[in-house]
């Protein structure tokens, strides 16, 4: 029995040890790094599910262990575990693109860093004040700078790394400036204190609003909410696919948990700025959904398509957040995980078989591998929100939340976005199932990938058919 705090320490320590192992061990011993990382994450997940509720008293002022925190901690662990499996699937591609000409470089960090990122994301889920929010957030962001640019021999990865670095650092500056102003206006760094000060008439509302706007803009960047979504397509497309998966699920979820806590603080009972923050979120949600869905119509690269798709999903979650439905945000995130990770896992598996990530490369997939084609159909159907898949339940709950708050205008725009989604999500499926001329080679899928694909498909369908499954986890 370990407390969730000790589990995070454990992950970070294992991460550092693995980096050291990779640096100093022999070639043979380095082979254990990926498996050690997967094992440590799996162990942490088991420990997390059987954790003890006790945490040291000294951290309680800035460390929350409520249901929201626990949900996102488990979420981070599951995501990391699957991302590590995806990374292992695409191991030789990563190795190829990160080595110099003719020299095989070691890539152990590629497996060790996710552990540290995971610890950071778990800390973020517990953040009760702005310091506890900022430090792990930066731990995650800086680690991601490394991961995005990891395959530096690929021009794409390098370009994505540079773009993410500049734009990410810019958002960090904005975030800290926002934190400063929120602190200045409320005299407190804890969310509780901020919420209390926001409802006091003596608080300078203008200064608080300025701070809130900057802070939300900084966090909006992390989750990819419009108008700060602009980095997502380029970075997601250029980054190594396992990292893209990690960014789009893990980093986004961690962003949403802190965004949830910040918004709760700003829109608490009697808050002076609740209406403005709510309206800003609503506008951002509508804009995000449209700016995610509509450009996606023209995409011919599946990875980039999924980047736009992730923007549109973020829009739906911001919409739920604007309606005060924090449970729905978590639920939507839970439906988003299996479908998205499944999609990226497929891209990696295809890539190892020499199939690129352009739309046209998918042609005839159903002949070459019925399993992969079916998995692709499930993943994209869920992202589109087809009934009986997890994605449908997520969208349904968001629509219900918005309608119960009578935000009909935004709902109408969201419907447009969802309808456009049906167009662009079904294109890969139709391509995969369209008949092609001539003979084509069968694709090989490794046993590990097979099992993971099966588990994720079952996850998508199970939540879609019986959503109580995910709800019970949320409680």
């Amino acid at each position: 029995m370990m407390s969730s705090f000790s589990i995070e320490i454990f992950l970070a320590v294992v991460g550092v040890l693995l980096i050291a192992l990779d640096a100093f061990a022999t070639e043979l011993n380095r082979k254990v790094v990926p498996w050690a990382a997967i094992g440590a994450t799996g162990l942490a997940l088991i420990l997390m599910l059987t954790r003890s509720a006790d945490i040291p008293a000294w951290i309680t002022p800035f460390y929350a262990t409520d249901s929201l925190a626990v949900f996102y901690k488990v979420f981070a662990l599951v995501t990391t575990l699957i991302v590590l499996i995806i990374a292992l699937e695409g191991d030789f591609i990563t190795a190829y693109f990160s080595s110099s000409e003719g020299v095989k470089t070691r890539i152990g960090e590629f497996y060790a860093l996710p552990l540290i990122v995971c610890a950071g994301m778990m800390w973020m889920a517990s953040a009760k004040d702005l310091v506890a929010l900022f430090v792990p957030l930066e731990l995650v962001t800086v680690s991601f700078y490394v991961l995005v640019a990891f395959t530096r021999r690929s021009a794409m990865s390098l370009e994505a790394g540079v773009k993410y670095l500049i734009l990410g650092a810019l958002s960090t500056g904005v975030l800290v400036f926002g934190i400063a102003w929120v602190y200045g206006a409320t005299g407190s760094l804890s969310f509780e204190g901020i919420a209390a000060a926001a409802s006091k008439p003596t608080t300078n509302a203008m200064a608080l609003m300025l701070g809130a706007a900057l802070l939300l803009a900084g966090l909006g960047f992390k989750v990819g909410a419009a108008p700060f979504q602009i980095w997502i397509p380029d970075v997601y497309q250029g980054a190594p696919t396992p990292v893209t998966a990690f960014l789009s699920v893990g980093s986004k979820a961690a962003g949403f948990v802190v965004l949830t806590r910040a918004v709760q603080a700003f829109t608490g009972d009697g808050s002076q700025i609740a209406t403005q923050v709510g309206n800003a979120l609503l506008s951002a949600a509508a804009l995000t959904i449209l700016l995610g869905s509509l450009p996606a119509i023209f995409q011919t690269n599946v990875k980039r398509l999924m980047a736009y798709s992730s923007i549109s999903h973020a829009g739906f979650m911001v919409l739920a957040l604007a309606c005060g439905a924090t449970g729905t945000v978590a639920f939507y995130m839970g439906t988003y995980l299996p479908a998205t990770l499944l999609g990226f896992l497929l891209l990696v598996v295809l890539r190892t078989q020499g199939v690129g990530d352009e739309l046209k490369d998918l042609a005839g997939l159903s002949k070459r591998s019925p399993l992969l084609a079916f998995a692709l159909a499930v993943a994209f159907a869920s992202m589109a929100g087809l009934p009986l898949t997890a994605g449908f339940m997520g969208k349904l709950l968001v629509f219900m939340a918005a309608i119960s708050k009578a935000h009909y205008g935004v709902v109408a725009l969201a419907v447009v976005g969802a309808a456009a989604g049906f167009y662009y999500y079904f294109r890969p499926i139709l391509t995969a199932y369209s008949p092609v001329e001539g003979e084509s080679t069968k694709l090989q899928v490794s046993p590990v990938a097979r099992v993971t694909i099966a588990v994720l498909i079952v996850g998508v369908v199970a939540v879609g058919v019986y959503p109580k499954l995910l709800q019970s986890v949320l409680k």
Binding site: V131, F177, Q299
Partner: protein
């Protein structure tokens, strides 16, 4: 007598200069320096607010502790960032923003 507003004004100007630099400069190193300037502006704001926010007659040091974290984070960011920029220079022989425009659309 220097008031809180003076500090905030300076910090605000610093932040604006930094943001403008990020937007208009083309050399990635310079852009990176401008980003550091924005962080410094934020730190200055934090310290100023902290110094003028009196709890029982003494300044509130909670926010000043955040400044140390920010500085540390900035250092880490520079370490990683410069490594990436060096990798970029080795690949492209240039640190101009126009050398990274392949991903688009």
């Amino acid at each position: 007598m220097i008031t809180l507003n003076d500090y905030l004004l300076v910090a605000g100007i610093l932040f604006a200069i930094g943001l403008a630099g990020v937007v208009v400069r083309r050399n990635i190193i310079v852009i990176y320096m401008c980003l550091e300037m924005m962080l410094s502006a934020a730190n200055l704001t934090l310290v100023a607010f902290s110094r003028f926010h009196l709890v029982d007659g003494a300044p509130d040091y909670a926010a000043q502790s955040l400044v140390f974290f920010t500085i540390t984070v900035a250092a880490a960011e520079v370490a990683v960032g410069l490594a990436i920029i060096v990798a970029l220079f080795r690949a492209k022989q240039s640190v101009d923003v126009e050398s990274v425009t392949k991903l688009k659309g």
